[in-house]
Symmetry: C3
Subunit: 469 residues, 3 copies
Amino acid sequence: MTSLVHADVLFPSDPGIRATARALYQTVAGLPIISPHGHTDPRWYALDEAFADPAQLLIVPDHYIFRMLFSQGIALEDLGVRRLDGSPVEADGRRIWRLFAENYHLFRGTPTRLWMDYVMSSLFQIHEPLGPETAETSYEQIADKLRQPEFRPRALFKRFNIEVIATTEGALDDLRWHRMIRDSGWDGRVVTAYRPDAVVDPDFEGFPANLDQFGQLTGEDTGTWSGYLAAHRQRRAYFKSFGATSSDHGHATADTANLSTAEASALFNRVRSGKAEAADRRLFRGQMLTEMAKMSLDDGLVLQIHPGSWRNHSPAMMTRHGRDMGFDIPTRTDYVGALKPLLDAVGLEKDLTVVLFTLDETSYARELAPLAGVYPALKLGPAWWFHDSPEGMRRFREMTTETAGFYNTVGFNDDTRAFPSIPARHDIARRVDCAFLARLVAEHRLREEEAFDLAKELAYTLAKKAYRL
Amino acid sequence: MTSLVHADVLFPSDPGIRATARALYQTVAGLPIISPHGHTDPRWYALDEAFADPAQLLIVPDHYIFRMLFSQGIALEDLGVRRLDGSPVEADGRRIWRLFAENYHLFRGTPTRLWMDYVMSSLFQIHEPLGPETAETSYEQIADKLRQPEFRPRALFKRFNIEVIATTEGALDDLRWHRMIRDSGWDGRVVTAYRPDAVVDPDFEGFPANLDQFGQLTGEDTGTWSGYLAAHRQRRAYFKSFGATSSDHGHATADTANLSTAEASALFNRVRSGKAEAADRRLFRGQMLTEMAKMSLDDGLVLQIHPGSWRNHSPAMMTRHGRDMGFDIPTRTDYVGALKPLLDAVGLEKDLTVVLFTLDETSYARELAPLAGVYPALKLGPAWWFHDSPEGMRRFREMTTETAGFYNTVGFNDDTRAFPSIPARHDIARRVDCAFLARLVAEHRLREEEAFDLAKELAYTLAKKAYRL
Amino acid sequence: MTSLVHADVLFPSDPGIRATARALYQTVAGLPIISPHGHTDPRWYALDEAFADPAQLLIVPDHYIFRMLFSQGIALEDLGVRRLDGSPVEADGRRIWRLFAENYHLFRGTPTRLWMDYVMSSLFQIHEPLGPETAETSYEQIADKLRQPEFRPRALFKRFNIEVIATTEGALDDLRWHRMIRDSGWDGRVVTAYRPDAVVDPDFEGFPANLDQFGQLTGEDTGTWSGYLAAHRQRRAYFKSFGATSSDHGHATADTANLSTAEASALFNRVRSGKAEAADRRLFRGQMLTEMAKMSLDDGLVLQIHPGSWRNHSPAMMTRHGRDMGFDIPTRTDYVGALKPLLDAVGLEKDLTVVLFTLDETSYARELAPLAGVYPALKLGPAWWFHDSPEGMRRFREMTTETAGFYNTVGFNDDTRAFPSIPARHDIARRVDCAFLARLVAEHRLREEEAFDLAKELAYTLAKKAYRL
């Protein structure tokens, strides 16, 4: 019986490259995981309860999985995805798992397939390919494991060799789970990250009420520009006290602005009144990126910009199932013009770190690498979301390295809420990077000892350093 | 004497990958051809007459060929391409063929070279490279074959192992050749496809007269919106009666609209009057894509959208030689915003199939794969036109598979009017796909038995299923 | 002791491809260098003085180097880059060289690293990797060589096997160094190229004064459109008398226009008055590209269009250090619409050569190859600037060859002011092209003898022919 995941998975077939890739990988495979950006639930680490059944753990919350099944005509309800109107959806984990297993061939060639095989194989000791015939036994085997104490969140955290993981919380979050983790005396390092979209984006649901709550939480007057900024400063400090080393911003574009205090204050008043036009609302989001960057200069938080997703593209699905249902679609994204106001303000600051992500790969070689290759404040985030895949990561290195080098990148982000897949994701990134380095060695573009250095930088050190962890 | 086309053509050099590619290819090389989208002339199959001389068959009608020669300073007139003003052009097939042979080196590295070598070698048993020295003998050999009955269209159809081929006819076409094919009792399966650009695009030459003719053909009142739609429904049914399973739409952009009946009716009236502004004409084209999609929900025709070509870029060439003279140039194309009205209307329908093509490869990973990877109505057409080439097909797979999978693609379209090249085109697509699958196997991203499954899906099954053939 | 540059550098690892790449390379490695576009200083060839110290030669003027170091927090002042305000900067070559050596790891994976290793190894006989430990000895060794007569510009010119090199001078340049070279009787062939941005771009510093000077230089009345055009014609002829075979235009976009004489004249008057709006200034630049193309039809100069760079992106750096400080960032660039007026005017002329460059790789397959693959006047310049790199050159071939072929490209441009790196740059281009050809041979897409032909075309002949050198 062979493993579902071959020891040489993702290494190029050419023997010369493969041997080097293997050798490089051997030195980084066992390094601890630095996970500076992700979406796991801090509640897991706080309560350390057993995970629910296999479907609830592995399928129902995974938008990569249900979007593919949906694209082939399978109803989300049959996959147990809840409806906003409360109508019943499939609740039987076995049936959901079976439906997934019957359609597992749809994932051939996708990262989901790699992650899932890796999780089944490494974590749950399943060695038969998933399919209709193995649906039952694999479900049982996973369910059985999940009842064991070694499969509780904290045990997995240790087993996964996670040195530090960041979760992401909204500016209004009380961080109760982080407090509980801290109070528990557990030695796992779980930090938060400051994600203020709900109080920064005038188009966010409930924005005015959010600002009110933001004021109550902080005791600042969020009816004024200065009070609003003070509230941010206070919350950032609060998040820092729970380990945060970064903020994160999921704007639709990379637009920034750098208004005078008077202009910004007037803009805030228009936005606060709820009467701002679309252009003003956009301008406000842009201004806030620059404000956040300025605060970062003071408090040292790393600023992450994640633009370019058209969120909730299908209104019918938004109404039926809500956000994050696989209907976020990438769009063309400009950085060179969009970031200029921010860069004019703080781009030359070498103590500032702004990490740029993209869903538009055309920007890698054309815009992002040239920008990060000269502005001290800029670094490149790894291949993101749909591009967090073997081909996507390869393209990222091929299209950024020659202009930005390796040292203007920040290692890997798993960016996931799928906790069991974290080791798989980091392992895949390490393999793809080792394969890339091995090719450079094989083509005599890099000396072998340099590749060994770099393999460790890409797998571990750069993330730790860039995110100040 | 060796063949012009090596048995391993297009298989990667790495021995591990090549062996698997070969093995996969062996299982699909002999599969029948499904050609669901193309531009061969139904008259050929109807009349089954001998083709004219080699130049008229292989050079004069092939825009890939004459655009390259023209780019290097050769006059189209010397290639026998007719002028709209009726001035004489070269009529001697031998001279045209010689000019082509003398410049055959210009095609090195292009798909035209692969197709032509394949046709000369497989079909005409020519084994010497084309060049000035072999121009005469190759011409003679081809001309000689073309006089033989085994080289008539129907015999070639059988020899090419075509299971079904679709031609493309305008909405005003009387389908006489299709009728003649049917009435002849010949068992070759030739179906039509509904291409209504001439009665859908207000910028099409003779649009108002076309609408009049559309009304006469159908007995509907194409002076009204409802009559106009009824005319479409009737013609679609007529085309279906000649085997059509798809419609095809060659708009400049992917813009769609979904107006109310009242708005659409008013828009139609403005367009019908000939006084519509450019914005209205564009809106009308967009509205019609949605109308066609809605009709597809009723009659089951697969909707194909082929946007992104700036047709007839050179007005001087348009005046001199007319349409389709190699001066159609791809442009940047947006899908995410452009398709939204159509997708909001019918994108979640799982019984609808909309096949998207692109000339803008940047949309593969950024827009098309994410869209097709979630909307049940969407599928991805193969690499198209300038991208119907080994590198283009490889990029298509590399940039779409990880997000859309293989099963949201629809196999290969040859999209050609160059009948003799059809086996070459399908063969190349099969080879490139097998090479891609072989790499996934070699990198342990796919199991071998899965690759065999997929090779057949990509070569045969997906096209048949997606196009309902 | 092994060389810093392996004999097989940049050849693919696959043995079958590598053997062919090596064989191809052997036949072109020794060909003379044709350098039809670059920025070396004609003063060097005129005066033939020894170069200054290693830092002043290799680091201080190289924007690839100092932008990367700056991006990692190193001040340009510490690298000896002069400030416009005259504040002191590091002047000690040894200290600058040491700082570079200590940070040499930042260049891993970049072309700078390849070029520098090549220069140190081939030219200066240094065989130890650069780093903190070797900073001192390598500095000494280079400095020592630079004092020797064999390392003076003319000796290097011969040693580098340069058949002809073009420099680039502004329209107002008196070409004194070129005159001195000619008068010296030296047989090295150094030609100029006509770069009129300063008198064509209304946004150029000192544009009105430049026009005045343009008038004085030529005796034409540059207060009128016809006089202004006559001045251009005269300067072009003057540049031609110093060997120029090309003009070069660094516009922000590829926009062109083709106004009537009356319109153009009126536009010139608005621009000349200094009161033209941004749209008029843009239109004027576009009109001038077409005017230059028309003059090229008369005088035979090859027209080069280098669009798509957002120059001097950081105003703070522009103020502190001036132009060309690594802050030129590529932007999205349209060609299909932008070039249409020029192409409508002269695109079908087969005696005109317009060479297109891009910083936006998305245009290769989508726009540039389709345009160059049909318009007789168009050719594709090589991978440019940030894309003049192994991966960049590979992508250029992969994305242009299938549609434009090899013969619509113009060989390599080093485009550099870094004189010692010229052999490295040409060698790398030859290696990458041989590797690409070798892959085509290995995949049986090209016959071996064709690849040998093409290797020479790409390394030597195409550049010579396209640039009429």
